[in-house]
Symmetry: C2
Subunit: 155 residues, 2 copies
DNA sequence: CTCTCTGGTAAACTTTGTTTACCAAGTACC
DNA sequence: GGTACTTGGTAAACAAAGTTTACCAGAGAG
């Protein structure tokens, strides 16, 4: 059996839905699409967990432990992720920048290309949403989500 | 080391953010909170993957393969999940209802209690969002997300 | 100079999911 | 009525990804 996408029954009414599902479903759809299109664009070897590293904001110049913190995982797990990304040639863990005794992530050329492609995919998605909702309503949606983001709600 | 929450730098501006992150961050915050509060409410043994079963809409009366489809995972993985939930006493896989040769999930008393608690948590979250955004803007946000939901965008 | 703290690393273990394979019950077809 | 195909469920082996436990190196405090 090969993997499939969740199929939603048409009988489900958004009226009954609570905010959790309404955010989760589109969020996961976007996430799946990013992975799929990244792979299709030739960035082989990238899977779910790798994406956590390439998420906004860019990991370039950031220390491993900060990335672990951002991703909500242990330093060790992040470190293994970084190791595999280094093997794949997307970044290097450069030794000692100047400050402390810390390492710093540096994206390689293809690492930067991944970031660029990801932004491109997301801009395309936004374009599709604008086509569906209209520019005004899409802007309003982002504005509202922005207000949520800046509030203590998401902490 | 114990698990920690992602910490976000205050320097990040929502202006720069694309729709992916804006949906993902609050969505994940809600997800973590549900698990945390469910455990705190005495529903021990429930972890991340289990929640996929209890997500809207209720799994009561639904066949295992349908749940697998909804969750976007293989029948086998879902089946193991259901097995552990059965052991924990949240549901039973009742044999042969009447139709076909299929099994059907039936929530037990504590299974129904989980669903009820989950809805309670989400209603509380909505209350907090309303306090932050105002009732009008929150309603507008849900309306816009509902339009996304009903569109082909999330398929 | 030594103690302690911080950031990074490594190895063992656990969790969770897919792949592969199989079984049982319907259903279609002859 | 018997046989092949399909569907839904299950089990075991394997793979992926994360936590726990433990350790090391360097920096700063005393």
């Amino acid at each position: 059996m090969s993997m499939s996408f969740p199929k939603e029954e048409s009988s489900i009414k958004t009226k009954d839905m609570l905010i959790g599902a309404m955010l989760r479903v589109p969020s996961e759809a976007i996430h799946r699409r990013i992975i799929r299109e990244l792979n299709a664009a030739g960035f082989q070897g990238l899977s779910q967990p790798h994406i956590a590293v390439f998420r906004f904001p860019s990991p370039d110049g950031v220390r491993p432990s900060v990335l672990a913190e951002r991703a909500g995982m242990s330093k060790q797990a992040m470190n293994r992720l970084l190791g595999s990304l280094e093997e794949l040639g997307y970044l290097v863990r450069s030794d000692a920048p100047d400050e402390g005794r810390a390492r710093v992530i540096r994206l390689t050329k293809s690492g930067h290309a991944v970031v660029a492609k990801e932004i491109e995919i997301l801009r395309q998605i936004e374009k599709e949403w604008i086509a569906e909702l209209g520019a005004g309503d899409f802007a309003r949606l982002k504005l509202l989500l922005g207000r949520v983001w800046e509030s203590p709600l998401v902490r």
